[in-house]
Symmetry: C2
Subunit: 264 residues, 2 copies
DNA sequence: AGTTGTGAAATGATTCACAGCC
DNA sequence: GGCTGTGAATCATTTCACAACT
């Protein structure tokens, strides 16, 4: 993709002095929370992708993989993959590669997939309903332990063996069932309130599908999936290609608001 | 959130020589495709978020906003917001702020939302069905122009006024209806094939919900939404908090594969 | 020979802090 | 006085390239 920029000046020869280097960090989670996080966020997201590839290799009975092959399958640069894996303290064998089953276990352990995480899903509307029935969650170690909504027509119904309860019960039920991850699939207006309830029930990780910025106390992790954003980013690329964009100069486009595409 | 790191050594006084600085890039899309992209990817994603806030401000009849307020509502740093907006050539007024309706129009224009983009959705299973009925797409200027699946039980059914057609027709129908964005919501196994069909139909932007890495020719933009990845990233944070992670040292955890949480 | 692990360079993104302008 | 626009500093991430090891 990127054009080869030709030969670049060689780096100066390596000085023989080997710097100390800590090799493996002493670990031991220093502070309560934000003190030390040796594994960067970007790496964590990629680990999940590596895991998917590893699992399929494992199913194929493959014993080892090289960083090159694994990286290609995951769609990343091999150096990046090696660095990622070195960060979680994994060890491949030089000249050979990584042991597939061992690496799989290491990645799973790092991601905390040793034990399942009970998930609460709030908002069983269109999207929420599909998510609840979407096998993906339970299948992958994230059993849906509770469903909530405010619609009386939905409360009491059973989806995939789980009864929908009223959102007022979030605090109690989540705490009782040991929910660790909350999924918000409500309309934007309700999202913050729902989020607050989840937090007060002790949920520290939230996946937000509602098109709003959730504010949470420090120590609570929110990840966002916003379909409108994704579509609009793609729209940007379409426009770029077609040259539709009015050459982002200082002058504003003449038309003030062509169409109110964005309603709420 | 972040603790104030106290007074930092003052930057050295600004030397009076003002460097040339290009101010506004000469623009004019140099090469065919990867040559120049003045707006960074990260900014584009945030523009969509700003737009949401702007729209709601517009609905409230607000005339102007300050970068501070807009940034707070979008959940970002105000300097970042100002830099983002300066990149798209917008102009606020010093001492006043940004004109809401004008800024809205500028962001919309940059994102290419002037005209709607016809969307094709492939895979009308659990998730795909919900996406098709999810008003979010059409409502925001991304009308679903075509639906595809391979399941004979689904082909021929009508969802929200659009008939589901067989996936074999992707090439023809997409080209005919001027589809510019494709959404892949099939199982992983079918995703690459579907993607190839979309590409050969001229679709240059793809939103992928299938848990696979799609390979596409240069010039095609793929964005990925992977629920398993999101959940696993959250799982990582849960584990970090609880200290469940077995101290990522060089020694592997004793158990080889605790549970096959990841099936396919 | 083949492949990992990793300093160090390169690139990219974010934040600071202040000049310039209304 | 208030607020934008932006160079420069800081921070994060990616990539390179090669020594170390099997």
């Amino acid at each position: 993709m990127t054009v080869d920029r030709g030969t670049r000046p060689a780096r100066r020869a390596v000085p023989s002095s080997r710097p100390p280097g800590v090799d493996l960090a002493p670990d031991a989670d220093g502070g309560e929370e934000s003190a030390s996080r040796p594994v960067p966020e970007a790496t964590v997201a990629r680990l999940a992708v590596y895991l998917r590839v590893l699992t399929s290799l494992l199913a194929d009975g493959r014993g080892t993989v090289s960083s090159e092959e694994l990286a290609a399958a995951a769609g990343v640069n091999s150096a990046k993959l090696r660095k990622d894996l070195s960060l979680i303290g994994s060890s491949g064998v030089r000249g050979v590669g990584y042991d597939v089953s061992r690496l799989t276990a290491e990645v799973e352990a790092t991601l905390g997939l040793d034990s399942p995480h009970a998930v609460a899903l709030v908002g069983v509307g269109n999207l929420g309903h599909a998510l609840a029935r979407y096998g993906g969650f339970a299948q992958r170690g994230f059993p849906v332990a509770a469903l909530f909504d405010v619609d009386p027509a939905l409360v009491g119904t059973v989806i995939d063996g789980v009864e929908v309860q009223h959102a007022d019960a979030i605090d109690v039920v989540c705490a009782a069932r040991g929910v660790t991850i909350g999924v918000v699939a409500t309309p934007a207006e309700a999202a913050q309130r729902v989020c607050d309830h989840l937090v007060s029930a002790g949920v520290r990780s939230i996946l937000n599908f509602a098109p709003t910025v959730l504010s949470v106390p420090a120590g609570v992790e929110v990840r966002k999936v916003d379909l409108a954003v994704e579509m609009q980013v793609l729209s940007f690329h379409v426009a770029r290609r077609h040259g539709t964009v009015p050459a982002a100069g200082p002058a504003a486009p003449s038309r003030p608001t062509p169409r109110e595409v964005f309603s709420r």
